[in-house]
């Protein structure tokens, strides 16, 4: 199968017609959405063109150091995103470091594993394979880790009376926080579980759709999608577990105390 249809810039312009229509409706109905709508559409277009340009340069250069550098930039942005999505964060460098490191570990282990044993491009770190794969895994792990940490920190703060009551009656720190910790892990796992259950029935994943549209045999596209989804699920789980265990460890101490003084005040 090789029915790849190249798009012209005119095609893209034509595709924007309904969006422009929505902007007109927004003005007519005084919804005041037109500005946001146009600005975010323009941002999307500019960002994607730039990414396309950057990727082309990186693919041509095919340097391991440049690939690593791009991966590092991606991790930094994702780490910052985890930090920003939490209502109550760990104090200081832990705030961005703990979530970022968990995500980095889980994402790197799973990506390197997939590149060296299943996809096996030459060289194994080939940016054309490594960067999109790492990006998809990182993006999903980021969502899981930020949800897990946000749930954990909110629960430890709100339920401190119950947790300290257990500590006072002789429980260890892990026993005392177990209910909150389990809830945090579950909430970190929820998006990936939901998306796996709905994939193919409710929605066709974007990556697979893109491949099919660009002429790849649907069965091949499906195999890639399954591989990616399994990797995403695995990495998300590892990231959530690492981040929540590390955070419980940080927010308690060896004298079985709850250390909410290591949690920053809620953002305003």
């Amino acid at each position: 199968m090789n029915s790849y249809i190249s798009l012209t810039y005119g095609d893209l312009l034509l595709a924007s017609i309904f969006l422009v229509m929505n902007a007109v409706f927004s003005i007519l109905l005084s919804l005041r959405l037109e500005r946001q709508l146009i600005v975010s559409a323009l941002r999307m277009i500019t960002q994607l063109f730039l990414v396309g340009l950057v990727l082309k340069i990186i693919f041509t250069a095919s340097s391991p150091w440049l690939t690593l550098l791009v991966a590092a930039v991606m991790v930094t942005f994702a780490g910052r995103e985890i930090w920003a999505r939490q209502d109550r964060r760990l104090h200081g460098v832990w705030g961005i470091g703990l979530g970022g490191t968990s995500m980095l570990l889980a994402g790197t282990i799973v990506t390197v594993f997939a590149l060296t044993t299943q996809i096996q491009p030459t060289p194994w770190w080939s940016p054309q394979f490594a960067l999109p794969l790492f990006g998809m895994i990182l993006g999903n792990t980021m969502t899981g880790v930020s949800l897990g940490l946000d749930t954990l920190h909110t629960a430890l703060y709100r339920e401190r009376a119950a947790i300290e009551a257990r500590l006072l009656l002789g429980s260890t720190r892990w026993e005392a926080v177990s209910a909150a910790h389990q809830r945090a892990i579950r909430s970190g796992f929820t998006p990936i579980i939901n998306s796996m259950a709905a994939t193919g029935v409710v929605s066709l994943p974007g990556m697979m759709t893109g491949q099919i549209l660009s002429g790849v045999d649907p069965q091949e596209a499906v195999k890639y999608q399954i591989l990616i989804t399994l990797l995403i699920g695995g990495a998300t789980g590892l990231g959530v577990l690492a981040a929540t265990f590390a955070s419980v460890w940080r927010l308690t101490d060896s004298r079985e105390r709850l250390r909410l003084d290591r949690l920053a005040a809620t953002r305003t």
Partner: protein, 202 residues
């Protein structure tokens, strides 16, 4: 029979503080709100980091894991926490419930639902929960603050019983009459320090 000894206990906000509670003694701790009374109790049970020596009988707190220490030195905070739906889930599977629960006017309460407890019931159940683990010393933070006269009487009776059995009791109260009824000795606290090492409540 163990005395509670506190020497140079210091946290970020209070201290240094030193005093003893003898075995079988009930010592009152009074002072204005914000003086650091509750913080002192938290430091004694090692719930907040602190320096200094605390021991009960021959056992110093750092000679044992914190969970072990808190079984010897109990604290009933002013506001109790509950983590399960049923009252009985907060108690050990096996303990002598009858005398303790009836003494507090709470016969049958083990089968109750935590969400339906009144503030006073919570306060008494939190006391029962700490007592059934048989601590050597017990710290009580305003244990009768939301109790009516009858329930206050029951709690005071129970405290006297505990002292009679040799338990060391530290009682934080805002009620001077209660301090006079219950204790022979009174500590006054303000600005994170003990004003007066000992004295008479009367």
């Amino acid at each position: 029979m163990s005395a509670l000894r506190i020497r140079q206990l210091t946290t970020k906000l209070i201290g240094p503080i030193s005093f003893d509670v003898a075995a079988g003694e009930c010592l009152a701790l009074m002072g204005p709100s914000g003086a650091g009374k509750s913080l002192l109790l938290r430091a004694i049970v090692d719930l907040d980091p602190s320096s200094g020596d605390v021991s009960v009988g021959v056992h110093a707190r750092y000679d044992m894991p914190a969970s072990e220490w808190r079984k010897r030195v109990g604290l009933v905070p002013a506001e109790s926490g509950w983590w399960a739906d049923r009252v009985c889930d907060h108690f050990p599977a096996k303990f002598d419930a009858m005398g303790l629960m009836e003494g507090l006017g709470l016969a049958g309460a083990l089968q109750w639902d935590v969400t339906r407890l009144s503030t006073g019931e919570r306060q008494r159940l939190a006391l029962a929960r700490a007592l059934c683990r048989k601590p050597e010393a017990l710290l009580l933070d305003e244990p009768t603050a939301s109790l009516d006269e009858r329930a206050t009487g029951l709690v005071e009776e129970l405290i006297r019983d505990c002292c009679g059995k040799g338990m060391a009791l530290l009682l934080v109260t805002h009620d001077r009459r209660q301090a006079e009824r219950m204790t022979k000795r009174l500590l006054l606290m303000s600005n994170g320090k003990i004003d007066q090492p000992s004295g008479s409540a009367a």
